[in-house]
Structures are given as C-alpha cells and as structure tokens.
Symmetry: C3
Subunit: 86 residues, 3 copies
C-alpha cells in the first residue's frame, strides 16, 4: 500500500523540547511517528552575530490532510518566535 | 552534470540491520551510496501504546529507473512487516 | 509567513570541512542557516571497492533565487571532485 507522505523538518532548541513536541503531535495522532536526531550543529545569524549551536532536528511524516494541523501545532508549542519548518 | 535523484528515507530496527540493508543495496549497484544516521530517537504508537525507541535512519539516493527495485529490495530484506519508506 | 525553501543535502569528508563550508555559505548570507549531522556512516563504491566511512551531512535551506549560487559555492570549496548534492 502506497500513501503519499509529507516529510516535515524543524529544528528545536534542545532534546527535551524535541521529545515534548514530538510526543504531543504523535499523541494527537496527527503523525504516525516522530523522529529526533539529537546531535546536530547549527550555524546561523542571530542579532548580527554568526552563532554555532546544538539544535536537535524533529522529523515528522504526515498525510496531506493533517499537514495544516501539524504545522499549526508546532507553531503553537515551539519555543522559538522565528520558526523554519521545511 | 546534473542527475535527478530520489532521496529515500527509511527507519531500521538497529545499526546492524541498517548496515546490512545498506550494503546489500549498494552491492547490487541499485544506489551509488547508502547513508546511515545511527543516533535517532523515534516516538510512535505500537499496539495501543506510545513507544520511544532508538531507530537508525537509512538514506539512499537513486535514479528514477532504480526506484522500484530499491523499494522492492528494502521490503524484501527489512525485518519490519509495517514499513514507512519516504 | 510561508516561504518556499529548497533543502540541500551534501555529504562532506569530515566535521571540520562541514563547519568550514557551512560557515562560508551562511556568512555570505546565501542561506539562513546550515545544519550539520556529524555522526553518519556512508557505504559506497570507490575505485572498485565497497568502502565504509564516516561522512558528516551538511543540510542547507535556501530560496530559489540563491539555489544556483549555493550549489556553485559548494562545488568551488568542497574537497571532493565527485560531489552528490541532493
């Protein structure tokens, strides 16, 4: 059986928050599962400075029907004001 | 030279199996290479319970022509009955 | 605000080079950020032999407008002659 899935990629402040967000979304059955890659180094501009930080990646797989609800839920509970969700 | 590649993303039970599947597929020259991210935490429903587990990710890159054969090979040798291949 | 982003995935020889390339590209403001997954095992053919190696993954997110410049910059400074950029 082939189902068309969207793969969502979002960086999170730390592992605890990535587990929190992942669990919330899977619990609500908006995605079948959540995958968390904890060891990731990020390089980015912040307030005029080039920063390097450890940011876990949260990867979610969901069907078209749930995509809007998953994005809304991430924005609602994520600690960042400026989010990059791919 | 630009070649259109498909990126295949599949979670595996453990590192040993991810190396086994990756090697089998690269040996058959169905993909140029296999990439394995071992340290990944998965959250998912299993038989009514919310489970947390370590599941390596196997990433494969292949041309359209080989996509069917790669998917068939993964299904054939993967230990899971229910597979999520993106 | 929704912006259409391209996610670029390229494997690098080691962590030092992945940080070097990531920083160069973010400094030139060609991408908002660079994400580096250091712990990745690669299986590939090299000069007739099946090789296994550790290769960090560099993930870059950029808008259509910058895609060409990012690809050109990676090719310019990457140590590999044969690159696989997805």
């Amino acid at each position: 059986m082939v189902i068309i899935m969207n793969l969502i990629y979002v960086t999170i402040s730390n592992e605890e928050e990535s587990l929190y967000i992942g669990e919330k979304i899977v619990k609500k059955r908006l995605t079948a599962c959540a995958n968390i890659i904890s060891d990731m180094k990020s390089i980015y501009w912040w307030e005029g400075n080039l920063e390097k930080d450890n940011e876990p990646i949260l990867i979610l797989k969901t069907i078209d029907e749930n995509l809007g609800a998953v994005m809304a839920k991430i924005k609602e509970i994520h600690s960042y004001d400026n989010l990059c969700i791919i």
